[in-house]
């Protein structure tokens, strides 16, 4: 599991835990839990939702690790704009005192903590799926890039606050996913990618006609997909 601590985002959402699981065998179970959690009411429902509060991403449609990372960065960046800079501009940017740093939000940072993500979907995790999608159809993005019953290669993402510890998040993941945790770098290996589907979704077939070597074509395809994700919100 890789953990990125992105100090440039508000501390409430600045930690990203990412794990790649291969040979996942319980995708239908996870899906059932997700659906159950979303329909339950009361405290039980709240707890159930906490337990499955992850982004589940179909890894076969990710062409490289960069693709995933840029998708997450773009999502955070678009959803976590400081709401109204002019109002809070009277406050000074007090840098946290050295003693109180270590990822603990200091009182003065409350303003930044209060930045609520502005999402088009239910939460930041589902917003990642929408960012990864080639269009703006939410249900389609969930179907395609989210988990399906047949998913066996799965990326699990948790966007958490600056305090969240790797171990705790891993414990939660471990409870949910029955698969083999592997190095995230394996996303860069070709065997994981379902190229025919990726080509169809991102309309890459025209790239095959370029007068380039197969390796160059593959790189161009990867670059094209990453660009599509990076410029998603300005197209």
């Amino acid at each position: 599991m890789e953990t990125y601590r992105l100090s440039n985002f508000p501390p409430g959402y600045s930690t990203v835990h990412i794990a790649l699981f291969r040979n996942v065998v319980n995708a239908p179970d996870i899906r059932k839990k997700l659906i159950l959690a979303s329909t339950m009411g009361g405290d039980d429902g709240e707890r159930a939702r906490q337990a499955v509060d992850f982004g589940f991403i179909e890894a076969r449609l990710l062409v490289s690790r960069m693709h995933l990372l840029i998708g997450i960065m773009t999502t955070l960046q678009t959803c976590l704009q400081p709401s109204n800079p002019s109002i809070s501009s009277s406050k000074d940017t007090t840098t946290p005192t050295p003693e109180s740093t270590n990822a603990t939000p200091v009182p003065n940072e409350n303003a930044r903590l209060s930045t609520r993500p502005i999402t088009r979907t239910h939460n930041l995790h589902s917003e990642i799926l929408l960012t990864l999608s080639s269009n703006n159809n939410i249900s389609e993005s969930l179907r395609r890039h989210g988990m399906s019953d047949t998913t066996d290669e799965l990326v699990v993402v948790r966007i958490a606050d600056a305090d969240s510890s790797e171990e705790a998040v891993w414990k939660e993941m471990e409870l949910l996913v029955d698969g083999q945790l592997v190095n995230l770098g394996e996303l860069d290996s070709d065997e994981l990618v379902d190229w025919p589907r990726v080509s169809k979704i991102f309309k890459l077939s025209e790239l095959d006609r370029l007068p380039l070597t197969p390796l160059e074509i593959r790189d161009t395809k990867i670059a094209t997909v990453i660009n599509t994700v990076a410029i998603k919100h300005v197209t």
């Binding site: 599991m1 440039n8 400081p82 083999q180 592997v182 660009n227 410029i231």
Partner: protein, 302 residues
């Protein structure tokens, strides 16, 4: 004060260029180095192969281009201009990549704050490679690469003798030459790159030798590739006129920054014509002659 994620990045980055429209920053990594957590025990212990595999963070050094707020413009107009220009630049880059034109990848687009992040190209600009301009011998149109190579050697010896401000030239050019690349070859690559770009109906708007980078390609079919950068002035073209003006700008750039290598520009045009095909090249050629007579100023069609 709440400041945007983009401004945080800019704070960490190093200013490398300041223009009237934008500031350009360089940042070693868009993402911090991740911490890796392997569960100490449990059913899903990592296989040995996964452990052997070195986990290095993906290479993501970026160039951040920040279109800062212009005090002389009304804030609303400023925001909308910044956003539309930035969006166009990002889309142009994406379209180029899709068409197989080698340009930097887009990695970060924050239109509200006017920041675009692009892959940093490791290499030299063509301007650096050509350095203080080639000496007169370069007009020779020999195809014998060895002979040219020899002349290059002589030339660089001369340069070592003369206290010329050519030390940048030696670095990029020496590296290229060691791979057997001639200046003619370089010009051909430039011509091809521009032809590819124009094939997508995008014009660059500011084609100069500083806006072209030379990068080695270890896996490529050629030892190096030309990367076109800075699409801040790009636009879509409809008429041969537009392409001709684009070419003319480069021609002038060659003439002024590399006065000795003007002869080389013919090589760029020849490769361009070949890359674009006779049918498309004809009208552009005619227009280019017209543009040469009247200067680069924009078309008078509207």
């Amino acid at each position: 004060m709440t400041i945007s994620a983009s401004h945080h990045l800019l704070d960490q980055a190093m200013l490398i260029k300041q223009g009237a429209e934008a500031k350009v920053y360089s940042l070693d990594s868009l993402l911090p180095q991740p911490t890796i957590y392997w569960p100490p025990s449990g059913p899903s212990k990592p296989s040995s192969t996964a452990q052997i595999q070195q986990t290095t963070a993906p290479k993501c050094s970026v160039i951040l281009k920040y279109r800062f707020k212009k005090q002389y413009r009304h804030p609303a107009l400023d925001l909308s201009l910044t956003r539309s220009r930035l969006a166009f630049e990002a889309r142009a880059l994406a379209r180029c990549t899709r068409a197989g034109v080698v340009v930097p990848h887009v990695m970060w687009v924050d239109d509200r704050n006017g920041v675009i992040g692009m892959e940093r190209i490791d290499g030299w600009s063509v301007r650096e490679v050509l350095g203080g301009g080639a000496e007169g011998e370069m007009t020779v149109e020999e195809e014998d690469e060895e002979e040219i190579g020899e002349m290059e050697m002589e030339r660089s010896k001369d340069q070592v003798d003369s206290i010329n401000a050519d030390e940048t030239e030696s670095e990029g050019w020496t590296a290229l030459r060691s791979k057997g690349v001639t200046k003619e070859h370089l010009m051909t690559s430039i011509g091809r790159a521009i032809a590819k770009l124009h094939g997508t109906a995008i014009i660059h708007g500011d084609l100069t030798t500083s806006n072209m980078m030379v990068r080695f390609t270890p896996n490529g079919s050629e030892p190096y590739e030309i990367v076109l950068i800075d699409f801040g002035l790009s636009s879509t073209a409809t008429l041969p006129e537009h392409y001709a003006v684009d070419l003319y700008v480069l021609e002038r750039a060659f003439a002024s920054t590399h006065p000795q290598s003007e002869g080389l520009y013919a090589g760029v045009l020849a490769a361009y014509a070949e890359g674009l095909g006779e049918k498309k090249w004809r009208p552009i050629q005619t227009k280019l002659k017209e543009v040469r007579l009247r200067g680069r100023k924009r078309d008078m069609t509207g």
